[in-house]
């Protein structure tokens, strides 16, 4: 068919009425003329009429042929069916609203979840050739990864052949003057090639030049688009101006385009990065053995991951001699950048949630199928009449399918609305999204929504269409208004059993996740978190140029904050609980063996403020300052480790060897253990056992970036304005950032389990409610159908509970089958989310009992209403009425 003809045929669908009218007119004119000619030939008017008709042939057939010729017949039918469906559904508003609502819920939830999956897992990273972006990790053991040293990084740049660009990234923060208000911003130290790695060009100004990451040339800065808008009024004139970072002037050379980098965070709760400055390594940094750099690189075109990995490993082997002996066996590895962003657990959580939502969609479809079956049973007569009037079986099936398609599309449109709301409300509640995740309602998501709407419509419509079109017309017409057949009921019961089974799977899954979450919440963090608020403060180098200056300022700051009304105690530390802290090697004097410990700076008020109990010896005092003998406090995990490894029965008074961190070259010192404290959780991973921690006094290891932890009476967050005021009193140039209560931080460390637990339970509840609607529907139908029978039984003396038992029996059997299948299914599927579970077996019987019990309760509640209606049947009225 030529395109022109096709166009006209489709157009004919729209112009149907006019074309039909014109044809009628032509035929009428034709017949008139033929008649006239026949009369002219001498026939009587009546004969002429007949003759004209005879010559013309069947008018109806010609009209049909004309329709076939001018239009696309099946589309024409579909359009008519769609109109018919809309009218029919309009007549049955309650049914339409329920069906569309249920579908919208299923489609909406699935669409929202798909947008998440798509944004996080499917869409390529929003950079050119993202598969070439890699991260380089040191791997002290095969299962751990570590940042690298300056030395190693420089050798990688010098000796590797596989990278087009390589940049060393590390955390940075600085206080910046924004319109007279000091603001502490987080940022990154990077190499000049950093944005080449990501293939990103600044929207304003320029990127770093190759030679700018040398000391002396490195006072240049690139701002994120968000920071430029928020803090600098989106002023394009900022390019070329100097911005003072901790009172050191940096020239602003570029502003990034809006997008992904506006969301780049190092940790879930952290502020996104606002600026990038260069790492011009100082002499001291070059010689440092500290692992503080995270290299990120872009592979040359055509270089495989394996080649890159081999090259990097070869370089590491060549420079092994430069390493201290105990590091010589460490290895190094190249990993795709996206795997770093999307950890295995997040991936699994997303898949579990997606699986759950697909189950919900299936139940929603099953429910609507059931509704349609009920309805088509009621419409059996209408369909039988149509069949008797000559509609073919295929035509009737097509009509029913078009009806469900109309339902599906309406559900789809409403579902997109539901998805938009869900994405608006729910996605911000998920903090652990990688910064590259672009979760939006775009064309891909809309295409997906359309596909599942159509899929759902077909799924939902198939069964009723097949069943109804098969029903013999005569049988339906002859049957008295006794409702549907037994076969219909069996189908509906099967569907309900499936719904119950799927709901049980979800309920068991939710139960498992919640038990895990409960266990995780019970993990002893070794500190009292309530009533504590924490914040970051940076002390600028120009005002606090030495360790002494810093150490002298800490007590001043702490005292000011301590004096704020409502503050019980204030502490200054390197890090607060659960937020992570660096690792160092601890040695015993004269021994080669090393113990990797978490290393934490704390002032004398830290243990009291955070409620970390001192179990042996003492905590720190104000006397543990620079110049005084080095002291260290260890936690119980470390004490028992020392006991096991070195037979150290009482650590108090013993000497250990640790790095003396502070201002000055990297060196180690012997320190006296003065106390043992409880096992404070220093990192957010609560699933891992408590780690060994060594604490050193803040004043003996001063640093510029510090944390303030404040215990208050009552609401911790409410004290923040007064604390801010006190900090400004101590030094007007200081800005507070990362203001979070310890409770928030703790909740953050539950993240990764909280969200899947709530998501799966929300889906479980929705599906259980849908299953309950199914149970209700079947039972209500059974009661309505057996009203006469019930009436007779009651007239013959059956008691109410006999009647209730009678109607409930079948339903209970259905639910029981569903339960059994569901528990079996849950047992088979729960293994898939093994890695999300914590201290709970995937086959934990309790979880299954809870899940099944919840389903039984919900089903019983759903059965209650129709059962009561059955018991309330009035025998005389039931017997008198026909139905």
């Amino acid at each position: 068919m030529t395109p022109r003809r096709l166009f006209h045929r489709v157009l004919a669908l729209v112009r149907r009425d006019r074309l039909e009218r014109e044809l009628q007119g032509e035929i009428a004119a034709h017949l008139e003329m033929a008649e006239r000619d026949a009369v002219a030939r001498g026939l009587s008017p009546a004969e002429a009429r007949l003759e004209a008709r005879r010559q013309f042939g069947g008018v109806d057939q010609v009209q049909e042929l004309h329709r076939d010729a001018r239009s696309v017949r099946w589309l024409d039918h579909a359009a008519r069916d769609a109109r018919h469906a809309v009218t029919t559904l309009g007549r049955d508003r309650g049914f339409a609203a329920l069906a569309i609502g249920v579908l919208a819920l299923g489609i909406g939830a699935t669409t929202a979840m798909f947008s998440l999956v798509d944004g996080v897992l499917f869409k390529p990273l929003p950079f050119p050739s993202p598969e070439r972006i890699v991260r380089v990790w040191e791997t002290p053991t095969t299962t751990t990864s570590n940042s690298t040293t300056t030395r190693t990084f420089i050798e990688l740049v010098r000796q590797t052949r596989v990278f087009e660009a390589l940049s060393a990234e590390s955390q940075s923060s600085a206080t910046v003057d924004a319109h007279g208000v000091p603001v502490r911003l987080t940022g990154r130290y990077v190499s000049a090639d950093h944005f080449t790695v990501f293939g990103v060009q600044p929207a304003l100004g320029r990127a770093f030049h190759q030679d700018e990451d040398q000391p002396g040339h490195d006072r240049v800065l690139i701002l994120s688009h968000a920071a430029w808008r928020t803090h600098f009024g989106a002023d394009p004139g900022i390019i070329g101006r100097d911005l003072r970072l901790d009172n050191v002037p940096y020239r602003v050379i570029g502003v990034l385009p809006p997008g992904v980098f506006d969301r780049q965070r190092a940790r879930p709760l952290e502020e996104p990065a606002s600026f990038w400055r260069l790492n011009g390594f100082t002499e001291q940094e070059l010689s440092m053995g500290a692992h503080w750099l995270n290299p990120v690189g872009r592979l040359k075109p055509g270089v495989t991951l394996a080649e890159a990995d081999a090259d990097v490993k070869a370089v590491r082997a060549r420079i092994a001699d430069l390493m201290p002996p105990w590091k010589q066996q460490w290895s190094i590895a190249v990993e795709p950048f996206d795997r770093l962003l999307i950890g295995d657990r997040l991936r699994q959580a997303i898949y579990v949630a997606l699986g759950a939502v697909v189950l919900v969609l299936l139940i929603a479809c099953a429910n609507v199928t059931n509704l349609l079956l009920t309805r088509s049973a009621a419409r059996q007569k209408e369909l039988a009449v149509r069949a008797a009037l000559g509609a073919g079986r295929a035509r009737i099936a097509a009509q029913l399918l078009v009806e469900s398609l109309v339902l599906g599309l309406a559900g789809g449109v409403a579902g997109v609305g539901v998805a938009a709301v869900l994405m608006r409300v729910a996605i911000p509640l998920l903090p652990a999204m990688p910064f590259t995740a672009d979760v939006v309602l775009d064309l891909r998501v809309l295409a997906f929504a359309t596909a599942i709407a159509v899929g759902a419509a077909v799924l939902v419509g198939m069964l009723p269409a097949i069943r109804s079109s098969r029903g013999a017309a005569a049988e339906a017409l002859n049957a008295a208004s006794r409702g549907s057949s037994g076969a219909h009921d069996a189908t509906r019961r099967t569907i309900v059993a499936v719904e119950v089974a799927v709901s049980v799977v979800l309920l068991c899954g939710a139960s498992l996740l919640f038990q895990s979450l409960a266990r995780l919440r019970q993990v002893d963090v070794g500190a009292r978190l309530d009533g504590v608020v924490t914040m970051s403060v940076d002390l600028p180098r120009d005002r606090y140029p030495s360790g002494n200056a810093l150490a002298a300022f800490y007590p001043v700051l702490a005292e000011r904050v301590q004096a704020v009304p409502g503050v019980l105690s204030a502490s200054i530390a390197g890090d607060v609980p659960l937020e992570g802290t660096g690792g160092e090697n601890l040695l015993l004097p004269g021994r080669e063996e090393r113990v990797l410990v978490r290393f934490k700076r704390a002032d004398h008020a830290y243990f009291a403020t955070l409620g970390v109990p001192v179990t042996n010896g003492r905590g720190f005092t104000a006397a543990d300052r620079i110049g005084a003998p080095y002291v260290v406090v260890i936690n119980e995990a470390l004490a028992s480790r020392l006991r096991e490894r070195f037979g150290m029965q009482d650590p108090i008074g013993q000497l250990v060897d640790l790095p003396a961190l502070g201002f000055g070259p990297d060196r180690r010192a012997s320190m006296t253990v003065v106390g043992v404290v409880g096992n404070e959780r220093v990192r957010s991973d609560l699933r891992a056992p408590a780690e060994e921690v060594a604490y050193v006094p803040m004043a003996q290891a001063p640093r510029m970036q510090v944390k303030l932890a404040v215990r208050t009476r009552g609401d911790a967050a409410a004290a923040v304005p007064a604390i801010r005021e006190a900090v400004r009193d101590a030094d007007p140039g200081l800005a507070l950032a990362d203001i979070r209560t310890m409770d928030e931080i703790w909740r953050g460390s539950l993240s990764g389990l909280t969200e899947p637990a709530w998501l799966v339970s929300a889906f479980a509840v929705v599906s259980a409610v849908l299953a309950a609607i199914g149970v209700y529907g079947v039972l209500a139908h059974a009661v309505a159908q057996r009203r006469r029978e019930i009436g007779i039984r009651m007239a013959l003396g059956a008691r109410r509970d006999d009647v209730v038992r009678l109607v409930m029996r079948g339903t209970l059997a259905t639910v029981a089958i569903g339960l059994a299948a569901g528990v079996a299914g849950a047992a088979a599927l729960s293994r898939l989310m093994q890695s999300l579970l914590f201290e709970v077996s995937a086959l934990e019987p309790m979880a299954f009992v809870v899940g099944a019990a919840a389903m039984v309760l919900i089903a019983a509640a759903a059965a209650f209403v129709p059962a009561r209606r059955a018991a309330g049947v009035d025998p005389s009225s039931a017997l008198r009425s026909e139905g």
Partner: protein, 129 residues
């Protein structure tokens, strides 16, 4: 009686889909005759076309007159004929059909094809005889 069978075919069943998919080809012999009629006679309305066809066949063809209307809409949708409004002798608004330029090109092509085909058939039948 060759015509009869061909025209009866296009009468009994709308059209063979496989045939209509051949793009620019005519759907049936009836279409060709309609085009030729319009080519010879100039613009005509449906009844006149039907009458003319019957005259030409001179009793050798049994035509249900109504079947020309599906043929006419088909040709119109192809752009080979166009319609305008006219008033019939019975004082009714009727459509007047006229050949378009594309239609006369199509007619030429089809006539040539037809001649080739019938010459071939004639040759084959002649050779056998």
């Amino acid at each position: 009686m060759l015509y009869v069978s061909i025209i009866d075919m296009s009468n009994s069943k709308p059209q063979n889909p496989a045939q209509s998919d051949k793009g620019e080809r005519l759907a049936g012999t009836l279409d060709l005759l309609v085009l030729k009629t319009l080519h010879t006679m100039g613009p005509l309305h449906g009844y006149a076309i039907a009458r003319r066809l019957e005259q030409m066949a001179a009793g050798q063809m049994r035509l249900s007159q109504g079947t020309i209307y599906p043929a006419l809409i088909r040709l119109e949708q192809q752009g080979w004929i166009r319609t305008s409004w006219d008033v019939s002798e019975t004082n009714r608004r009727v459509k007047l059909y006229a050949l378009t330029r594309a239609g006369s090109r199509q007619l030429q092509a089809e006539v040539r094809r037809w001649q080739l085909a019938s010459a071939l058939v004639a040759r084959v039948l002649g050779a056998k005889a």
